[in-house]
Symmetry: C2
Subunit: 345 residues, 2 copies
């Protein structure tokens, strides 16, 4: 009995005719603005279904200025830094019946360009990891006057707009507490500027946390460099070879760096985790039990899904009060404790 679904045209007036009501009623029923679930409602819905009807977004947008499009703007995709975020955002946006327009702006100029493009498309909202440039923050404030904007991560962002991200100080606090509990009293820091969400911010938070926690460090144990296995190996070897003591733990920007440190430990005859505990600031396949490293690495996991969900909530909720204050939402990261920092028994 099923008829071949006419995959092409079917407009609201066809549905209205078939259901025996006006187009306005069809619009109200299908958009959910008419809430009753009575005979009429069912008649309209079944008519729409039989005709395989779906609204013409262009017409709807033209009339109501609601495009059902959310823009997501990130500085990069290929380095896998933000691809998890974009994928999470895609899922959330589709759940809400909207669609995701992607903008990748590797430079501040490109990012401004993408912003201009999506604004002229009248998107319903913008999720953005702002480029590390103040000029973008300024542009965002202008845009936010007529379009919901949520910033995510980034060093340089506007305090006048909603923000969702992880707290650098919270990350460092979790790490410090864990290292304390695991019996480490001193720590080295091998940071990275290019491949972390906010390398500088993390480094600053590390410094501050050192003064708060019982952990000690030394100037020569701190490096803020390019990351990578060579980097980790060389810096760790240097640390081990100089002075009378070596740190009881090392914080590494990423898994590769940690692998380098691990190699240096081995060639210096230092046991992990018994003598040195390793913590990675950014989880990856490398760190996991099933991954490359033996021992596996304790690492910080950024909850992309939570961030995407909260950001969309902020986009969706209208800013009702006139004296609206920007939300600054710190999503709690997870510290995944693995073999590299187990408590010495």
């Amino acid at each position: 009995m099923s008829q071949r679904s006419s995959s092409s045209e079917a407009s609201i007036s066809n549905v209205a005719a078939l259901a025996g009501v006006s187009t306005a009623t069809v619009s109200r029923v299908l958009s959910g603005r008419r809430k009753k679930d009575d005979e009429l409602s069912r008649k309209v819905k079944s008519a729409a279904e039989r005709l395989n009807y779906s609204v013409n977004y262009a017409a709807s947008a033209l009339r109501s200025d609601v495009t059902n499009i959310i823009a997501v703007v990130v500085p990069d995709l290929s380095t896998s830094m933000y691809s998890g975020l974009v994928q999470a955002a895609e899922a959330v946006i589709n759940d809400k019946g909207k669609q995701l327009v992607l903008g990748v702006g590797e430079s501040a100029h490109e990012q401004r360009q993408r912003l201009h493009d999506v604004v002229s498309r009248h998107v319903d909202g913008i999720l953005i990891v702002p480029h590390e440039t103040e000029s973008v923050a300024g542009l965002l404030e202008e845009i936010a006057e007529h379009t919901p904007v949520v910033q995510m991560f980034a060093q340089s962002y506007s305090n006048h707009l909603d923000w969702v991200g992880t707290s650098n100080s919270l990350i460092m606090q979790m790490i410090a507490e864990h290292l304390n509990a695991a019996g480490a009293h001193s720590v080295a820091y091998l940071g990275n500027s290019t491949d972390s969400v906010d390398g500088m911010g993390l480094f600053t938070a590390f410094h501050m946390q050192m003064t708060l926690s019982g952990l000690s460090t030394r100037t020569e144990w701190i490096r803020f460099g390019a990351g990578g296995m060579d980097y980790g190996f060389q810096e760790a070897s240097r640390i081990f070879s100089q002075g009378d003591q070596f740190p009881e733990s090392v914080i590494c920007s990423d898994g590769m760096t940690a692998l380098g440190v691990l190699a240096a430990c081995r060639s210096s005859g230092i046991a992990v985790p018994e003598q040195i505990k390793l913590v990675v600031l950014q989880d990856s396949e490398l760190c996991a039990e099933s991954g490359l490293s033996k021992p596996s690495f304790t690492a910080v996991d950024i909850p992309w899904r939570d961030i995407a969900r909260h950001s969309m909530d902020l986009i969706t909720k209208e800013h009702e009060s006139k004296a609206w204050l920007p939300t600054h939402l710190e999503v709690e990261p997870r510290l995944i404790i693995r073999e590299s920092s187990l408590i010495a028994s």
Copy 2:
């Protein structure tokens, strides 16, 4: 003398009024359908600029059914497999003045869902890495009757539609020629089903190439498994420990597997590349000189940019002739020769 640009409204009629022409003329000039570059043309353009005018896409789409949106549908982003492709596509699409709607469908069902969504948005074209299911191929053929579709990669795709990707047999041919030139006469194969663009297709191509080239292999040297460092280590160790001979080269699905193989070589006292040459089917940071591995790994690089560009060309070009034949475009991959397969001197 610059006036504050009114960031908000400015419609085609405003431009028409300011330029002293009709809206029709403005539309023709700005869309490029009126080609003369005379006084009138310049008047219109400067008026548009002064008003900071940009077309209302919704209105334009409603009238002309051109949305200036290209959909890109992929099975995944987070595993970094297709994020390079998406980023390349974003760049190309933006160059053409269009915008990218992203659909991530991890299952065949989700992918069909995303396809339905973007079709009902009347996108100007669809770039898709089809899910490995025939049902998607069928749906694509239906869609292609009214919307340009280009398939990329994937085992299971429709022969009736345009396709752009890399040639598995070409990849294997390049590898075989290189290994021959480097002096290897035998080869093992450690494949991977989950993390490569088309694991099965590559494996098949490998088999065929063996019969064509001077390379020999053995049944027990061939594995088609999960990939990863453990996998590589175990399989390579097994190969080395059994029989009288070991292969003079190993083809690995990915960098991680190759690292495992390398570790196995070390513990068996086999020198790379002197005694065994290593080739990786999918380049990554791991493989590069600056990366983790010493020696660096010779690897196949997939030219995402070329693929994205050619795909967009196919979307854009109308299929003029009635007896149109689908394009099957094989983009040439690069074999990046690094230390792991240098010719023994």
